[in-house]
């Protein structure tokens, strides 16, 4: 399957090992500026396509082959930095949204782009929701983290409506949120990441208040009594099969966790720059993460010379849950 040993055909330059300490596959011709969003094609397509939106105003598409090599397929420009991308579930269209306040639909077959939405301000996220008249509702749940440290859970079946409004368990600014499902693949809770190196696992309807918990991550070790750097959790992604999760942080590392066993499955080495986003492909074989500057140290540390990377890792075994429960 996704073979880790063969490197496959890459682009020209060799990557220094400091930039790729985990020796993962490097995606060819990455964007010129920070990657803001990553999305894999859905299961409806036989091949794996990866879409990345970037601050260089482009959305790029690669086909990811079984041996780990990536083939740039196509690219689209936007009027401004792209902040989020999403696939339609039939895999024929890609949605992109960003600072130009518009959401656009890109039909891959015809390569046409059509504007589908307009807002008054930059759009941070866009998602494809399966409508209720399909036989299997994918996401009846949506979770929004607000700037006022609240969480709003929406019920999307029928007419979208607010289901619950909660105060955040985290004391610092929210950075990312990801929904997870229970054993029956029904969305049942979410993971919330903050800028303070902490993730909260929250069930929407917990059977036991102790089901909800937080854990710390993406902090530099330092001495136990001394200085510790705390980094933002930039993205969280749940493995579609195992239900385990991955977090990526501004410290430049990714970690795999099992939230049910409450343990860390695997940490990674540090990359040279923060990791901004991560994504799993539809069958959970590939973990993609993007290494680029996320602005966590302000504009002074923005270095246009530094290359942006997207790495792919064969992750199915590493993300297996620790316990059998």
């Amino acid at each position: 399957m996704f073979n880790q040993s063969a490197l496959g055909g890459f682009g020209a330059t060799a990557t220094p090992s400091t930039a790729n300490p985990m020796k993962d596959f490097e995606v060819a011709q990455p964007p010129d500026d920070s990657v803001s969003s990553l999305a894999f094609s859905p299961a409806t397509l036989p091949q794996n396509f990866l879409i990345a939106g970037s601050w260089d105003n482009n959305v790029s598409c690669w086909e990811i082959e079984q041996n780990g090599s990536s083939v740039p397929k196509s690219m689209q420009s936007c009027g401004g930095p792209v902040l989020d991308v999403a696939w339609s579930d039939d895999g024929t269209k890609v949605f992109k949204a960003g600072c130009d306040k518009q959401a656009k639909m890109w039909d891959l077959a015809s390569n046409q782009v059509v504007q589908v939405a307009m807002h008054d301000a930059p759009i941070k996220t866009c998602h494809w929701i399966k409508a209720p008249n399909y036989s299997y509702v994918d996401f009846p749940m949506a979770v929004v983290g607000t700037a006022g440290r609240q969480i709003i859970v929406y019920q999307l079946e029928g007419k979208p409506q607010e289901y619950k409004k909660l105060d955040s368990p985290l004391k610092y600014q929210h950075r990312c949120v990801a929904i997870f499902r229970d054993k029956k693949k029904v969305p049942t809770g979410y993971a919330l990441g903050s800028v303070e190196g902490r993730v909260a696992i929250q069930y929407v309807n917990p059977t036991n208040p102790k089901d909800n918990f937080t854990f710390k991550c993406h902090r530099s070790n330092g001495t136990p009594n001394g200085y510790q750097d705390i980094y933002a959790v930039n993205d969280i992604a749940f493995h579609p099969i195992h239900g385990t999760l991955a977090t990526v942080g501004a410290d430049g590392s990714f970690s795999f966790w099992d939230k049910d066993a409450r343990t860390k499955l695997k940490p990674s080495e540090l990359m040279e720059q923060p990791i901004t986003r991560c994504a799993f492909n539809h069958n959970g074989q590939i973990f993609a993460y993007s290494v680029s500057y996320d602005w966590s140290r302000g504009h002074e540390f923005y270095n246009t010379q530094k290359k942006n990377y997207i790495f792919l890792r064969s992750c199915y075994e590493e993300l297996k849950p620790r316990t059998s429960s």
Binding site: G8, G9, G11, A12, Q29, N57, N58, V71, P72, K73, S74, M75, S77, C78, G79, G80, P81, C99, D100, K101, V113, Q115, D120, A121, P122, K124, A147, Y172, Q173, R175, V195, E196, N208, P209, K210, N212, F213, T214, F215, G222, T223, P224, N225, G226, Y227, Q228, D229, I230, Y231, A232, A250, R262, T263, D294, S296, R297, H299, Y302, R322, T323
Partner: protein, 355 residues
Amino acid sequence: MGRKKKKQSKPWCWYCNREFEDEKILIQHQKAKHFKCHICHKKLYTGPGLSIHCMQVHKETIDKVPNSMPNRSNIDIEIYGMEGIPAADLKEHERQKQGSRGNDSGSDDDEPSAKRPKPEGLLGNAPGVMQGVPGMMPGMMPPPGMGPGMHHMGPMMQMGHMGPHFMHHPGKKNSLFFLRMQMMPPHMQAMMQGQGGPAKPLFPSAIPTSSPGGPSAPVVGADFKPISSGASSKIIHPAEDISLEETRARHPKYARSIPSKSDDGASSSSTAASELAIAVSAAQQAAVHQQKQVEAMNQHAAMMQRFPVRVTGPPISMTMGGPIMAPMRHHQMIPGPPTLIGGPLMRPPPLSMPP
């Protein structure tokens, strides 16, 4: 604080009387030599902690601290580094040091009393730790608000058993009490999992969300180890409470391409003239893109096989707003068929692409 302490003596281990350069090393020594479980080799933080661990995880009782002197082997006394050492033993140690050192009198009179408030500070420095204590107590038991004896009857028994034990040490021990409370979860959970040493756990500082306004605590360290100072960690994030993307979008490099974005009151340009200026620079950016397209068009034919592109008649709607359309169209005419503008921007193929 540091000066006085060092003047008194180097940190020494109450259990075996050895001296160390600083307290950190002393603690490491204690963990490795005195607080290590002989069955699973897990390192605990205190004597009572070790005792509880062995009881709950291995069902074994421990009566004395490993590798300790016979008069210092009491497992119930709570020592962590230099904290918790009884005053009498401190004095005795001092006297012994004086005897061997000669006439370096120092200020050992106020030492014992100076020591007393200090241990409070060890954990008291952590903001919100103290107020967390009463909150933690019921929080430790399963669902706070419900009485003990809900589902977890088994561990409850253990806890109740230990309860009176905790109360032995009033006053100063309050801070260590919290330390012990923090120790409970690994034991509780390890027991509930039914496993001994491996597959442990836990996320550092699993805080049940039920504890209200609980310690925001970047202070409590990994694996429930209390950190002495909370002020020495730093969050790598700009000070403003807006998202990184918002901060970045305000940077001049990106602000140009964002047509008149209007944040809360921070609208950079509202006049039509400046909007046009933005539009022009955005058009220039698009022109750069078009340059690349001209180069890429040579590759286009090869790409067609892979990713068929239907060249359609009507031009694709541009991403710019309305007023910009006019200058844009002008640009479109130059490179050739307008339909391909904004269309597939094929990069030169990678070397590995098969025909």
